[in-house]
């Protein structure tokens, strides 16, 4: 009987110990609460504050004062204030999402040449086929394969690559055009890059935040290109990757990886960067904020956030041809 009571009291004691305090953020439409929360989120979780030399503390004082002057019912004004604060990060991966608007930053590409003209591209991208997210055809009298990939959000599979390479089996080289590709799923970047390598290898590193300090990061973790992604589907002839300032995020990572392929070169303008893998979080008002949180580096441990400089820089000036594609054709024909 005594042991019976002991067991019962033990159970009660265990139940009473089950009390962890919740750390929930409560819903609020108050401008000061939301600016404060947004500032805290970026302060503790954004990965480039110190790298970009941003005085985030000064921004706090400036924007809290502005928020205090806002009408609590004017949600659009609050949205604009939050967006303005986020603009100071100069980052294409930073957005604020509400039911009525989405903020975005343009400072990272405004002062760069477009280096892409869809009308001129049509002179080359003719009678094309579409495999997964890849548009492909031959150019230069069938001597060169041309693949245009407008978004890494569209999937690429090994069977897509198999059919493309089979179509291009008599071509001397291949052009992969990722200009104006704003990124998407980085697993597609791995799959598209893998056929140009012969063995598993480290093609970059990443590190995520481990604490609330601006420089609290994990150790560099290798990003490995796994050949099992594409099995025996290979392209070991010359390949040119075309990029411009709008080549961003996953596309930027793809360009970074392709620099290490044996028969490749990069042609065009500097890519857009977006080397910080974005994450999302929510404000007390329920809006979602997206921001860079995981830093990505190339194989030489150099940050890819500022963009990748091409091996051959070309700025488009012609009005009757695509100078960047022409340069790529020229490079392949010289190999």
């Amino acid at each position: 009987m005594k042991s019976r009571y002991t067991i019962i009291w033990l159970l009660i004691a265990i139940l009473l110990s089950a009390c962890h305090a919740k750390e929930e953020m409560t819903y609020s439409a108050d401008p000061v609460d939301n600016i404060e929360a947004l500032w805290q989120i970026i302060d503790t979780k954004y990965c480039y504050i110190d790298t970009k030399g941003i005085d985030w503390q000064a921004i706090h004082e400036e924007y809290i004062a502005k928020a205090a002057a806002l009408n609590i019912n004017d949600k659009m004004a609050l949205f604009d204030l939050c967006a303005s604060m986020l603009d100071s990060l100069r980052d294409g991966h930073v957005n604020l999402y509400s039911d009525f608007d989405r903020s975005y930053n343009t400072a990272w590409y405004d002062s760069y040449p477009a280096n892409y003209n869809a009308e001129l591209q049509k002179l080359y991208l003719k009678d094309y086929r579409i495999a997964g997210g890849l548009y492909y055809c031959t150019i230069d009298d069938g001597k060169i394969g041309y693949v245009y990939y407008p978004s890494f959000s569209n999937s690429v599979g090994v069977s897509n690559l198999y059919w493309i390479f089979t179509t291009f089996k008599d071509c001397k080289g291949l052009i992969i055009d990722v200009r104006n590709n704003g990124g998407g799923d980085i697993t597609n970047a791995y799959k598209l890059a893998a056929p140009f390598f012969t063995e598993n290898q480290t093609i970059g590193f990443w590190q995520h935040k481990t604490g609330t300090g601006h420089n609290d990061f994990s150790a560099l973790e290798p990003m490995t290109l796994d050949q099992s992604l594409v099995e025996q589907c290979k392209w070991l002839r010359p390949v040119v990757v075309l990029c411009n300032r709008h080549t961003y995020s996953a596309a930027n990572l793809f360009v970074s990886m392709m620099r290490y392929a044996e028969h490749s070169t990069i042609v065009g303008g500097i890519s857009g960067g977006g080397g910080g893998m974005p994450m999302s979080y929510e404000l007390p008002i329920g809006w979602m904020v997206r921001f860079s949180s995981v830093r990505m580096y190339d194989r030489d441990k150099k940050d890819i956030e500022p963009g990748i400089a091409p091996d051959i820089t070309v700025t488009m000036t012609s009005t009757d041809k695509d100078d960047i594609i022409e340069k790529a054709i020229q490079w392949i024909n010289k190999q």
Partner: protein, 264 residues
């Protein structure tokens, strides 16, 4: 398939309860990996639970007499749909739980009052998708625990119906759970970068699952109505997870036993 085990059990004088049930309830979810805001919504579940006494062993083999030890197992699946208070985002979740336990039963008053205590091995998994999250859409709970299980039941009789009112409680003692690292992305997780599989117990992971059930034996069928409550609360550093659910349960109970017209 149903007849065979019934006959087999009848010969061996073993009673076996099997309950198929549905659950409808409400829930609260805090998952700071996805959002600092708490979400609330509905839970819909389906489950199966079975109870069976062990048989007494003698030198001549199993006698068929019931022992004071019994075992219980259950499998539950639930779908949940939670919204933030601002209704600007939602979680969709799938929850799987399975477990098995053995318990010792004390019986009083013609075996109408029973109290039981024992260990229980519980596996709990839930995956959540946040609808409007752009780059980090999925979070999950993974835990395997050795639990303490206890309960009490009281059987009573009406004119044509017999009833059993039971309460059961389980809480974790020690086990393993998994946490993503602080702000680790799902790309990194799927690439094999380790999160934090860790030893868990009441110092860092609280699980409390309990149920209140009324079984009603009518002439041709036995039904259950009841309520289930579940609280899971754990975290580390700046990550904090809370799953709090309450549901109403309706089930059908198959009770296999040898004595004709026997009450519960």
């Amino acid at each position: 398939m149903m007849l065979f085990p019934v006959l087999l059990m009848a010969q061996e004088n073993v009673e076996h309860d099997n309950i198929l049930k549905i659950k409808v309830g409400t829930g609260y979810q805090l998952d700071t990996y996805l959002s600092p805001l708490g979400y609330t919504g509905m839970v819909y579940g389906l489950g199966n639970e079975w109870w069976q006494p062990f048989r007494k062993d003698t030198k001549l083999g199993k006698t068929g007499k019931l022992d004071h030890w019994a075992h219980v197992g259950r499998v539950d699946i639930a779908l949940s749909n939670y919204y933030s208070k601002a209704r600007t985002n939602k979680y969709m979740g799938v929850q799987l739980a399975a477990g098995w336990g053995a318990f010792y039963e004390w019986r009083w008053i013609d075996e109408r009052l029973k109290v039981f205590v024992g260990p229980y091995l519980d596996a709990d998994f839930m995956v959540r998708e946040q609808a409007n999250n752009v780059n980090k859409i999925v979070s999950l709970d993974v835990a395997i625990d050795v639990m303490a299980m206890g309960g009490i039941s009281w059987s009573f009789y009406g004119k044509k119906t017999s009833y059993r009112l039971g309460y059961m409680l389980r809480t974790n003692l020690i086990g393993f759970d998994y946490l993503p690292e602080y702000w680790e992305s799902y790309y990194e997780i799927t690439q094999g970068v380790p999160g934090q599989p860790r030893c868990s117990g009441h110092w860092n992971h609280n699980t409390l699952k309990h149920q209140l059930a009324l079984d009603m034996q009518f002439p041709h069928s036995t039904w259950r109505i009841g309520a289930e409550h579940e609280l899971i609360n754990y975290g580390t550093d700046n990550l904090h997870f809370v799953r709090h659910q309450f549901g109403i349960v309706v089930g059908c109970l198959w009770k296999y036993k040898i004595r004709a017209n026997a009450r519960l």
